[in-house]
Structure formats: C-alpha cells, structure tokens
C-alpha cells in the first residue's frame, strides 16, 4: 500500500452553497471532464496533434478556484495543461476545440495549439508550454492591477490573478523569485499549485527536499494553505478566502491543492511508473462523484437534474467538435500575420 499524504479534512457543513452555485460547479467540472475525454478520442482519431496534456481528475481545482473569482474580469494563467482552465475562465468549448484542431476559429487562431490557449476577451493570459514561465507573467498581471489602482487612481482595478502550475514547477527559480516579489509588494495573486504527485516520471518526493509545498510560503511571510484538491467545495472555500485577501490589498496566497491526474502525463505517455495502488487510492476520490454525492445527499439536486446537466454538456461538446471540424483552416496568406501588433 502506498503511503499517501494525509488529505486535509474539510467539512462541507462549514461552507455556504446554494443550489444554483452547486449546479454551476457541477456543470463546470462535467464540462472539463467531458471535454478532455473527447480530446483523447479526437487525438487517437488523428484530429489533433502535438503534445496534449489532459486534466482528468484535477477538475475540482480549476472549478473551485476560478468559480471563486470573477471569470472574465479577473486574470487566469495556466500551463500546457490548460484546456480546462480556459473553459472555467469562460472560453467557449468550441473555440478551445477548434484551437486543438488547428483551425482559424480557435481561441489562438490555430497558431497556438493544445499548450497555448489564449483569450484576451476572457482574460486568459495563456497556456505556457515551458514549466514555470507563466508564473512571472501572472505576477506581472497582478502588479498591473496594483499599479492601476495606486498609480493611476483607478478604483475599479481590484482584479485578482490566479496562476496555476504543477508540483514540478515549484522547484524552479521563477516560483521562488515570484513568491518573493509578490509578498514584498503585496500583489493580488493566487499561486495555485496542483500537486498531482508527478512531474512526468519524476515523483514529487524525489524532486524536492520539502514535499509540503504550501509551507514554502512561510519563508516569504505569505499565507500558504493546503487543500484537498479532490473536493471542489474545499478548494472553493480556500480560494474565496485568498481572493478576499487579494482584493483587500493584503497580498498573495500560495494554495497547494493535493490532486491527481487520472491519465498519463500526456496522451503520448505510456504511464508506466505510477503504481496500481496509488491510482486506486486516487480514482476512489473522483471529485465529480464527490460533488454529485454531496448535492444529492443535501437535497440540492436530484439525480435527474445532474443527468440533465451531463446531457447538456455532452451536446455542447459534440457541437464543439462539429464546429471545429467544419471551421476553416488558417489562411496561408496570413502566415506572417500576428508577429507584430500592427498585423
């Protein structure tokens, strides 16, 4: 039996959840899950190419954090594992799917692909393919909010930035450099570590001298919390607190969400290193099943209502695929477009 880190306990009774909110969380997680399942299918059918990193298993983190923010107003920054962050931030599924198909209607006009989802409209600062490089960019966006408020007198500039990255990124200098600066200048940012225990084939404990990442915040005098990343209500609660701190000008928070990816690192990964025991431990903690159970037990939703959401999302995904398939390829005459701002 693998020794798993004890997941922090969370009592759902301690959080306020309306029916409407509960269903929204459920819908967002189902959207993430179904979207990724469809990607796997399309990848194996040769509809998309390159490295494709799926998010299955980690949905509670994207949904819990972004739904605690103001999607479309606040900023979100991701990694190469970015499809679901884009969806939670409000980028329509058809734009994300079309990007994966390399089409002109994709959110990055077919120039980015799986690891480079961007949307200015939805304040998605991007998918960044190099480990940890999104952290400084997100920190700059957070600096911008503070700058507008303090130097330009813009009272409405209370936007918060959520920066998502993995356990592997936490051993990179940019992580430490940015935590230092964000704490120093009290920037309105959430650093959200999705600790899924692995960086491709490098087990977290083999890569770091202090596996409890949230504790690394303390040396910067920053709030650091760990949370059960398989429990969307728990994630939402710590995110709400962190967002409130950030908006109040009280500075950044490091959130370590303990989670697990249900698939290999990417669709090209044979996934041979992770043990059966470990996988079983985590598969039993499927965040979607957990929320479904909570909603029905608390009489916040019926099985029927959840079914309806699932059907609605399935339809949305099918439409996204149709849209992507029928969309035009980028115009070859526009090969040079978008290099400079004037193009």
């Amino acid at each position: 039996m693998v020794q798993e880190r004890t997941l922090p306990t969370f009592s759902a009774a301690s959080t306020q959840l309306s029916k409407e909110e509960g269903l929204r969380l459920y819908e967002d997680m189902i959207l993430g899950r179904y979207f990724e399942d469809k990607c796997a299918e399309m990848y194996y059918r040769g509809k998309m190419f390159g490295f494709v990193h799926l998010y299955n298993g980690q949905e509670a983190v994207s949904t819990g954090v972004i739904q605690a923010m103001r999607p479309g107003e606040d900023y979100v920054c991701s990694t190469y594992r970015d499809h679901v962050h884009a969806l939670s931030a409000g980028v329509p599924a058809k734009q994300v799917m079309a990007e994966l198909f390399g089409k002109a209607t994709g959110c990055s006009k077919g120039r980015g692909g799986s690891m480079h989802m961007f949307s200015q409209e939805h304040r998605l600062l991007g998918g960044y393919a190099f480990v940890a490089e999104g952290i400084p960019v997100a920190t700059g966006a957070a600096f911008q909010s503070k700058y507008r408020r303090e130097m330009m007198g813009d009272e409405s500039a209370d936007q918060v930035t959520a920066c998502f990255f993995g356990d592997g990124a936490c051993n990179n200098g940019q992580f430490f450099e940015c935590l230092n600066m964000a704490a120093l200048w009290k920037l309105p940012i959430l650093y959200v570590v999705e600790n899924n225990k692995w960086a491709i084939g490098m087990a977290h404990e083999r890569a770091t001298s202090q596996p409890e990442i949230y504790k690394k915040a303390s040396v910067f005098g920053m709030a650091g919390v760990e949370v059960d990343g398989m429990d969307v209500l728990a994630v939402r609660q710590v995110a709400q607190e962190a967002v409130a701190r950030a908006r109040a000008g009280e500075g950044p928070t490091l959130i370590e969400a303990l989670t697990y990816r249900f698939r290999g690192h990417s669709l090209a990964d044979p996934d041979e290193l992770r043990s059966k025991d470990e996988k079983e431990f985590w598969f039993a903690r499927d965040p979607i099943k957990k929320l479904a159970a909570h909603l029905t037990e608390q009489d916040l939703a019926s099985q029927e209502e959840l079914k309806q959401i699932e059907q609605k999302i399935q339809q949305e995904i099918d439409e996204a695929v149709k849209f992507a398939e029928s969309s035009p390829e980028p115009d070859p005459n526009e090969l040079y477009r978008y290099i400079f701002a004037e193009d």
């Binding site: 991007g126 490089e133 920190t139 400079f340």
Partner: protein
C-alpha cells in the same frame, strides 16, 4: 536643451514619456533609489514614485516575465538590464514570451515593452560583462532590435521605442554614456526602422552601428585626408534591417565593408552579408568585407582586448584596399 550627456538624453526620454503616459514605468535592478548603474534614471523615483521606478530583486527572468505580463495587460514597462548581459538569464522571457507570444496567441495580446541597457565591450570588464548579445537575439521572431549611438539618436529612438506597440530590445553602449551633444529644445522622435546616413560618399558603403560608428568616423578623418570618399551608414535598426537605405547606398557604391563589434560567427554582419547576397548580388563589384570582433570571449588584458575588437587602423586599411581594387 543645451549640451547633453548621453545618459541624460536617455533619462530625458524616459522622463518625458513617463510624464506623458501614466502606463509607462521602469523596472530593474537599482533603477529607483540608486538611479540606474549608469544614472539613466537618476532621481526619477522622486518625481514618479517607487512603483513607477520599481527596484526589483536580482531576478532577471522573473522581472522580465513580469514586465511581459504587465505589458499584456495594458502597461508599458521599460526593463533596464543593469548590464544587457544579465538578460541572458531572461532569454526565455525575451524569446518565448516577449518575442513570440503575440503570434502564438493568434494576436490576442500585444506586448509593448522596451528592454534597454548597456551592451557592448567596455574597458577591461572581462568576458561576461563584454558581450555582443544582439546576435543572440536577432533570430527571435517578433522582436525589434535597435542600437543607439549618439545622445541625439538615443533620445529620439528611446521615445519611439517606448511608444511602439511591440517589444523593442534597445542597446546602449557602456562606453558611450559620457558623449555630449547639443540636443533640440523641442520634442522629437526618430523612426525605429531607419538607418542613418552619417556621411554620404561614393567610394564604398560602410555599414556599422553602436560604438563602431565612432571608430569608423575616426578612420574616415584619415581616409578623407588620403582622398577617399566612403559612405557611412549607422544601421540603428538591427532588426529589421533597413534595406531601403542600405540598398540605395550599395547601388551607388557597389562595394560594402561591415564594421561591427559583434562576433564574426552568426553575427549581425553575417546576416547582412547573407541578405545583401539575396537582394543585391548583381550590384556588387567586390565581395562584401566583414570586420568583426574575434570569435573569442572578450579577454581582460587591455592589449588582448584591443586585438579582439575592430580598430580604426583596420578600417582605414580595409577601405584603401577595397577602393584601390577598383582600378
């Protein structure tokens, strides 16, 4: 403005642009209280505050990445590299983020930022502080690269770089900060993509930039006395190269000498030769001649350092030889 020192011309450019546009700010090591390692931002923090002259920790890749994030979200950062060489640590942010992100994002974001500071070979600073980085960066798509060379062009170019909607890598030169020049009283801007014909002539086109412009002009004094009439062009824009100006000159002189501080292998001159061959081969009466720095780390020893970079005597010799061949 009366006679102005080079670093004060740069300072004036930043000051004017910060006064004009509240989204412009400077970040980097010692740009605030200390005033910049070459005094380019001296006392500006007193006028604009500490957030607009942001003293950062020594974390080049992170503060350069931050500037990209700030630019994507509507500010106009000016990153000062305390020495441009230190920005090797930020190569990823300059190449992947500043240079390529607009394209990768399918035009979602623009990145109006300036990355500026002292480049070039100083006086016995040793290899790491005596770099010729412009060559490393010239292959990055999406970047504009500018090298200033006089107080006048430094001011006008920096103002334009700050207003440009794209990332601009702006090279100053360690040994030029104390040059003096009379500057116009009224505001002026200079185009980022135009080379400057410093001295019109008909015998040969000398293409140069940054500090080597001054070595060339020193050589020209002797050459004039000896009856030669070279045309001197300061490239200013290292990317894109201004082939309108370069082409006009080559169609007149049919001979080219490149004088650069860059390394020979994969340098700016190498790119120039290739592009001249592509576009103007039929105009050439002689192979293009390249005078570049030696392909070695810049040595500390003064005599060795002198041997590493191009000296005026070599320029004189090269022009005399090439023009004499015309017979």
């Amino acid at each position: 403005m009366a006679e102005t020192l080079f670093f004060n011309a740069l300072r004036a450019a930043i000051d004017e642009e910060m006064a004009r546009d509240a989204t412009v700010f400077v970040l980097g090591e010692d740009v605030g209280h200390y005033g910049g390692s070459y005094k380019v931002t001296k006392d500006l923090y007193k006028k604009y505050g500490e957030l607009r002259l942001l003293d950062t920790p020594i974390a080049e890749n992170s503060f350069t990445g931050m500037a990209v994030g700030a630019a994507m979200t509507g500010l106009r950062p000016i990153v000062e590299g305390m020495n441009m060489g230190f920005l090797l640590l930020a190569f990823n942010q300059i190449a992947n983020n500043a240079g390529m992100l607009r394209y990768t994002s399918g035009g979602n974001f623009k990145i109006p930022m300036v990355i500026r500071g002292p480049g070039g070979v100083g006086r016995q600073l040793g290899a790491e502080h005596s770099q010729r980085l412009e060559a490393y960066f010239q292959a990055v798509p999406g970047l504009k690269i500018v090298a200033c060379s006089t107080p006048y062009n430094a001011k006008g170019l920096l103002k334009s770089a700050i207003r440009d909607e794209n990332p601009v890598l702006f090279f100053e030169h360690v040994l030029l900060y104390n040059l003096k020049e009379d500057l116009p009283e009224t505001e002026y801007l200079l185009p980022l993509d135009k080379a400057e014909v410093v001295r019109p002539g008909k015998d040969v086109t000398i293409l140069t930039y940054s500090r080597m412009r001054h070595h060339v002009l020193q050589a020209v004094k002797t050459l004039e006395k000896n009856g030669f009439d070279p045309e001197v062009i300061d490239l200013i824009s290292l990317k894109p190269l201004d082939f309108d100006t370069i082409g006009d000159s080559i169609r007149k002189t049919h001979r080219v000498i490149i004088v650069e501080e860059c390394m020979r292998t994969g340098g700016i001159g190498a790119e120039l030769v290739a592009s001249i061959n592509d576009r103007l081969f039929d105009e050439l009466d002689a192979p293009v001649l390249r005078l570049s720095s030696q392909d070695i780390p810049t040595p500390y020893n003064g005599a060795l350092e002198r041997l590493t970079i191009v000296q005026p005597e070599q320029i004189i010799e090269a022009v005399e030889k090439m023009v004499a061949l015309r017979i």
